[in-house]
């Protein structure tokens, strides 16, 4: 009897509480890490998606500038192309502005200035009625090259801004 009275319980209540606390903290830590990881992964996936979209738009402009330079464009086919690109860029920039606070007008030179350089050029106007492929003069080609030189960095700046946003 005496022996039994002296036997201490293997675990006291405070020990159970401590174990419970450890388990709860562990679970909480696991949940937090998983949630943050998922959120970070989501953010990264979204950034990669927008960066890919920006690269695609850059490629389309680059391709069209090459076509313009090598005289492969017909005047009447350019207007719908500019319109479609503008709609696409507007959608993209609206989302990029909402998610990453980037200026919506960042690609405006490509949306308006390039269109103006092309459609206001004499070569474009003179070939419009017959819809002949436009052979740009040296002056117009210089204007196109100058446009490219001035604005080529915009896409990289945009990609960096998306990537660096926290």
């Amino acid at each position: 009897m005496e022996l039994m009275c002296c036997t201490k319980p293997l675990m006291e209540i405070s020990d159970w509480i401590a174990i419970g606390a450890v388990l709860i903290n562990g679970g909480l830590a696991f949940w937090i890490v998983r949630t943050i990881q998922n959120k970070l992964a989501n953010k990264r996936v979204l950034k990669d998606h927008f960066i890919a979209e920006i690269k695609e738009v850059r490629e389309q402009y680059k391709c069209q500038l090459n076509n313009l330079y090598s005289g492969k464009c017909k005047p009447k086919e350019l207007l719908p192309w500019f319109k479609l690109m503008n709609i696409k860029v507007n959608d993209l920039m609206t989302l990029v502005n909402q998610k990453y606070k980037i200026d919506k007008e960042k690609l405006k030179p490509y949306q308006t200035d390039l269109r103006n350089v092309v459609t206001e050029s004499e070569d474009y106007i003179n070939n419009f009625k017959q819809n002949r492929e436009i052979e740009f003069s040296d002056k117009s080609k210089t204007d196109i090259i100058q446009f490219q030189q001035l604005n080529n960095s915009i896409f990289n700046e945009l990609i960096v801004s998306v990537n660096d946003f926290n």
């Binding site: 500019f82 319109k83 709609i87 405006k108 308006t112 459609t119 206001e120 106007i125 419009f128 009625k129």
Partner: protein, 142 residues
């Protein structure tokens, strides 16, 4: 509250608008102005209506088309009258609206004040324009 008179470039003119002048393109801004916009705007004024011009659903515009069409309107009716009686809709490409309001209207109002008449490159029937007495006159202007 004024009533609205709706027109669209697509329905009242062309799916494929051209360039500035009749001499360089079919379906030009000059032609749209003389065939559609001048008369519709005058009718809207006479009926105390706002003219709603919808630019959407065409194949796309050259800036010169819109500049010539809406610039002529300002030249013939004055910027104040045009601004107070027109509403331009361009949901697909909102930048057109900015260009027309911020550049075309202002530049063509200056032209109007300095009597720098628009270039006419097609044969047009009579149209409305403010005369020297500030009254709208219907004739073939040079």
């Amino acid at each position: 509250m004024k009533n609205k008179r709706n027109i669209s470039v697509l329905d009242s003119f062309s799916e494929y608008p051209g360039l500035r002048h009749c001499a360089v393109s079919d379906d030009s801004g000059e032609e749209f102005y003389h065939k559609v916009l001048n008369k519709e705007f005058k009718d809207a004024l006479d009926n105390n209506e706002i003219l709603i011009v919808n630019l959407d659903n065409t194949a796309g515009y050259a800036p010169s088309f819109l500049d010539e069409a809406f610039g002529n309107l300002v030249y013939d009716f004055s910027m104040e009258t045009v601004k107070n009686n027109i509403n331009i809709i361009s949901e697909e490409e909102p930048s057109w609206k900015d260009m027309i309001y911020e550049e075309t209207f202002v530049q063509w109002e200056d032209r109007r004040k300095s009597n720098e008449a628009p270039k006419i490159t097609g044969n047009h029937s009579e149209w409305y324009r403010l005369n020297a007495n500030g009254e709208l006159e219907y004739k073939t202007w040079n």
